[in-house]
């Protein structure tokens, strides 16, 4: 049977996106619908879900306000802390370092990914725990320092774990920055600091936005770091969900929280994309 060119094209498209589409539908769209349905249901007396149509669970979100507050403060603060550390380093790697050593140094940024995040965060648990740094401080006479299970410990874990994800997109945007633009700026009389704020920074903003969005979104769903370094004291939405689904078996409230989290993530994504696009739109020109 001869296929028309149009039919052929449709089949190629289906073959290219089909596997991913099926995967996403089965493991993402369907579960999300289940969660949506759960979120308007009721907790069965023995735990779990029983059908209903009520927004009580959403009205009840306040019961887990601490998780929302922790997540919505520590995630952006963590992302900004990552940014403040990552930008100078990415700038150094992309602009200042000897090109022959650049590849080596950039790969060093990625090296931590060779070890499991769990193992690395676990080691921080020991370092910050009573027998770690506080113990050393005690030996030199500084007593009663508590590090583990504090917001500071969670923040430290966040910056430690997510820094590479912030460095890489910023590095990429700085590295492809046309050096002649910097020369042109200097040529027109701009001092180096002025060149940085007028040219380098604005043109690297898409990388900055990518890094901030990436880290923030991942942090909004973070579970491991607050679990290990926050103990039961500093917990995120992710930890609350685990608790609701597995311990207290209140699936509808867990679902309502999950739905709210998804809405927050989408909002963050849309806002950062908007900002990134506003700058990206002016970067369409090829400067090769």
């Amino acid at each position: 049977m001869e296929l028309t060119p149009k039919a052929k094209k449709t089949m190629v498209t289906a073959a290219l996106i089909g596997p991913a589409a099926i995967w996403l539908f089965v493991f993402m769209v369907l579960p999300f619908f289940a969660i949506l349905v759960f979120s308007v249901g009721e907790r069965a007396p023995a735990g779990g879900y029983q059908p209903a149509f009520t927004f009580d669970q959403f009205a009840n979100l306040g019961a887990r306000a601490a998780a929302f507050v922790n997540t919505l403060t520590l995630a952006p603060i963590g992302a900004i802390a990552c940014l403040l550390i990552a930008y100078p380093l990415a700038y150094y790697l992309a602009v200042k370092v000897d090109p022959r050593r650049r590849l080596l140094l950039v790969s060093l940024v990625v090296v931590p990914f060779w070890t499991s995040m769990l193992v690395r965060t676990y080691s921080w648990m020991y370092l910050l725990g009573a027998r770690g740094i506080p113990h050393v401080l005690e030996l030199i006479g500084i007593e009663n320092v508590r590090l583990i299970n504090t917001p500071g410990a969670v923040l430290l874990g966040i910056v430690y774990g997510y820094l590479p994800l912030m460095i890489l997109p910023i590095f990429v945007s700085l590295e492809k920055l046309d050096r002649r633009l910097l020369e042109a700026s200097a040529d027109l009389g701009a001092k180096p600091i002025s060149t940085f704020f007028n040219i380098t920074l604005p043109l690297s903003l898409p990388g900055v936005m990518t890094g901030v969005a990436l880290v923030t979104i991942l942090l909004l769903g973070e579970y491991l770091i607050p679990q290990l370094l926050g103990g039961g004291k500093v917990f995120f939405i992710g930890n609350a969900l685990v608790d609701l689904f597995l311990q207290s078996r209140n699936w509808p409230l867990g679902s309502a929280i999950a739905v709210t989290l998804v809405i927050v993530v989408v909002a963050v994504l849309l806002i950062s994309m908007r900002i990134a696009w506003r700058f990206a739109g002016t970067r369409q020109i090829d400067l090769v």
């Binding site: 020369e183 042109a184 040529d187 027109l188 180096p192 007028n198 020109i285």
Partner: protein
């Protein structure tokens, strides 16, 4: 530091090396105020390095660079009274046309009034005939328009010297010749020194007052375009600037005859100072006439192998024994009247002995492209 100098730019024994690679070797140039100078040479000859040393993007390894009599060694680009039109323009993609052009004015301290900045940027845009384009985004402009934005941006601060790095390389042929005129006109209107870097000999010859031919990090010849073309100082210059035929042989005592390898003789007039011995003769294609008659003493004959019609002229390739292929350019109109033009015809290559340039050296000693 200041010396009474009419030289706008001065290079005093300037060298620049990168590790073990020498980019520029012991160069001295004086560029008078208001001149239009072209640095011409093949890629890698050091011309761009020279330009970048004037702009302040490179510092000489040894020697001094002076601008308006002031020592520039160690002075960064942003403190030099020099502006540059970059290759591929290097316009700021996140600014619109007006913001690009006023960028240099924004950097002036104490700050200029906004109205003054807008007025001067507008003037510069008018000069390059882009009035009314101020609010356009850079990527909405064509290549030729971007080129003029780059020009406006570079002249807005009224620099003492304007540097142009292959400014026309990215334009198509028609636009390029239009811009050549515009650049010349602009240079006269502004009265500031232009230094142009190019590998295109036609561009260098047509626009500049002085051409500085460079090769392998050294200056081979400086002069007015006509001098460079008509009186090349060495074979490299003759070969690089315009087309040329290369004929090797031995100059006989008396300086009137070059004996070729196959025993044939070429009548030439050697300049005083060219010693008898191995020489290379450069002969321009347009200096040769194709004639349908037996060769006289000191002339050569050949067989026409190809003809390429170029519009106003035609190019002939003539196979001459003992020399190889000789390129001849003839005025199209005069040639079509004759019947010698068809490939296969045997012709005599006639030329004025004084039009041949004789240089010392053999094939191995002469640098070519």
């Amino acid at each position: 530091m200041t010396s009474a100098s009419t030289h706008n730019i001065e290079f005093r024994s300037v060298s620049k090396t990168y590790g073990s690679v020498t980019a520029v070797s012991d160069i001295s140039i004086n560029v008078p105020k208001g001149a239009f100078m072209a640095l011409l040479g093949p890629s890698g000859c050091g011309k761009t390095t020279c330009l970048r040393m004037i702009g302040g993007f490179e510092q000489p390894t040894s020697g001094d660079v002076l601008i308006d009599g002031r020592m520039m060694n160690g002075v960064p680009a942003y403190r030099r009274p020099v502006n540059m039109v970059f290759q591929q323009y290097a316009l700021f993609p996140h600014f619109n046309v007006e913001e690009n052009v006023s960028y240099g004015l924004q950097q002036i301290r104490p700050k200029l009034a906004n109205a003054e900045i807008a007025r001067r940027a507008g003037e510069a845009l008018e000069m390059v005939r882009l009035g009314g384009f101020g609010k356009r985004r850079i990527h909405e402009m064509s290549g030729g328009q971007q080129q003029r934005v780059a020009l406006a941006r570079a002249i807005v601060n009224r620099p003492s010297v304007l540097l142009l790095d292959e400014p026309l390389a990215a334009l198509d042929k028609k636009l390029r010749s239009a811009m050549q005129f515009e650049l010349q006109t602009l240079q006269r209107e502004l009265g500031i020194t232009f230094v142009l870097v190019t590998h295109d000999q036609e561009e260098a010859l047509s626009m500049s007052d002085f051409v500085c031919v460079m090769n392998a990090g050294t200056i081979r010849q400086i002069g007015r375009p006509e001098e460079i073309y008509d009186h090349p100082g060495e074979f490299f210059v003759a070969d690089f600037v315009g087309k040329t035929n290369r004929i090797e042989g031995t100059l006989e005592p008396g300086g009137k005859v070059v004996r070729m390898a196959d025993g044939g003789a070429l009548a030439i007039v050697a300049r005083p100072g060219v010693e008898p011995g191995p020489v290379v003769v450069a002969l321009r294609p347009e200096a040769i006439r194709l004639e349908h008659r037996p060769a006289r003493m000191g002339e050569i004959t050949g067989v026409i192998t190809h003809r390429v019609f170029l519009g106003s002229t035609a190019e002939y390739s003539v196979a001459a024994p003992g020399i190889g292929d000789v390129l001849v350019t003839a005025d199209h109109k005069t040639m079509t009247e004759s019947d010698l033009i068809e490939p296969g015809a045997t012709v005599t290559l006639a030329f004025d002995p004084a039009a041949a340039h004789v240089f010392r050296g053999t094939a191995n000693q002469v640098t070519t492209r």
